[in-house]
Symmetry: C2
């Protein structure tokens, strides 16, 4: 099963895809100042066009009138959020949650490596997804990460499973790995609130 | 003292600033499909222009010939990385490291709130900065986070201090807070490697 977050109207999803490519080349470009200025003019023009009608505040704080799931703006899985890789969350029949993603220049910390905090973001989301129920998101209570070695930029896999459930608390564990094995392990406690979201 | 990462040539920094604005309106726009298509055409044009000369791989894996610090591409503090807020890291005379930043729609997890993983990214970076030495970055060994309540999108402060140092290990602690107090606390062990970066 694939989580929601991938049902935004295609036109918005394509827009976010273009902005993801733009983020990558903005970091990596070595063109001269005149070309940068020309590109910036195009970008500023796009900003002006898209700003003609804006939802106030963030994506999820709005009237949902167009069938786009709230998660479309999510920084981890949101297909409308160019900061999101976006992660595609898979759930196996045995309860294992996993994702595969290629992380490029946008997610760099140490030279050539994924920022430790980006590993934390991915693990927070994947571990949290083990506790997630439709319409009732789980919130992080605690998260503990152990970095075994640097995670090279490029393709990575993350997976998580539930260790045990105690009332509203789900105890989850997981890791990130590259082709040579595990780079970061994680344990977390996730809470499904009984009241309205914080 | 303000860390490096803010010395990229102004033209690239301005470009990244425009892309940050674009990310925000890409998430929040409600214009119709025709306007989205027109904006996307501008963006694709900018991508093509900036792609004329690209460094292979990520930002930091290249010949440094132009005086731009490696950290310019960093996902937390990089002024050339549109995904970075970017954090501006301050160091007080007493060793406290802190940052103030306003987090918008691009960093959303639960509706109206910062993604728990983005809080982890910020805390990883701020705690790690307590152990950082010029030219010798510190790597995360372990990081433990406790989420006291949701962190609303908007202005937040993060700070960290060194609890103790034991050889290559720096034990740091810190938190994120909004105007009403602490939302997430963190403890971490950061390692200054004696050999080449992993």
């Amino acid at each position: 099963m694939v989580d929601c977050g991938d049902r935004a109207p295609a036109v918005y999803e394509a827009l976010a895809g273009s902005v993801r490519r733009l983020i990558d080349v903005t970091i990596r470009t070595e063109v001269d100042a005149a070309v940068v200025a020309a590109a910036k003019a195009h970008i500023d023009c796009a900003v002006e066009q898209l700003s003609e009608v804006l939802t106030p505040g963030s994506f999820a704080v709005r009237e949902v009138v167009d069938g786009q799931p709230v998660a479309s703006g999510n920084v981890a899985i949101g297909v409308r959020n160019p900061v999101a890789p976006p992660l595609v969350i898979h759930r196996d029949a045995d309860g294992v949650v996993w994702t595969e993603v290629t992380l490029g220049a946008a997610y760099e910390g140490p030279p050539g490596h994924v920022h430790g905090g980006v590993c934390a973001l991915i693990l927070d989301h994947v571990l949290g997804a083990t506790a997630h129920q439709p319409g009732r998101p789980a919130y992080t209570g605690t998260l503990s990460l152990r970095y075994l070695r640097g995670t090279p930029l490029g393709p990575v896999r993350a997976r998580a499973h539930v260790d045990r459930i105690d009332g509203a608390k789900t105890f989850a564990a997981g890791h990130i790995a590259d082709s040579e094995g595990i780079t970061v392990t994680a344990e977390g406690v996730f809470i499904i609130p009984t009241r309205a979201p914080r």
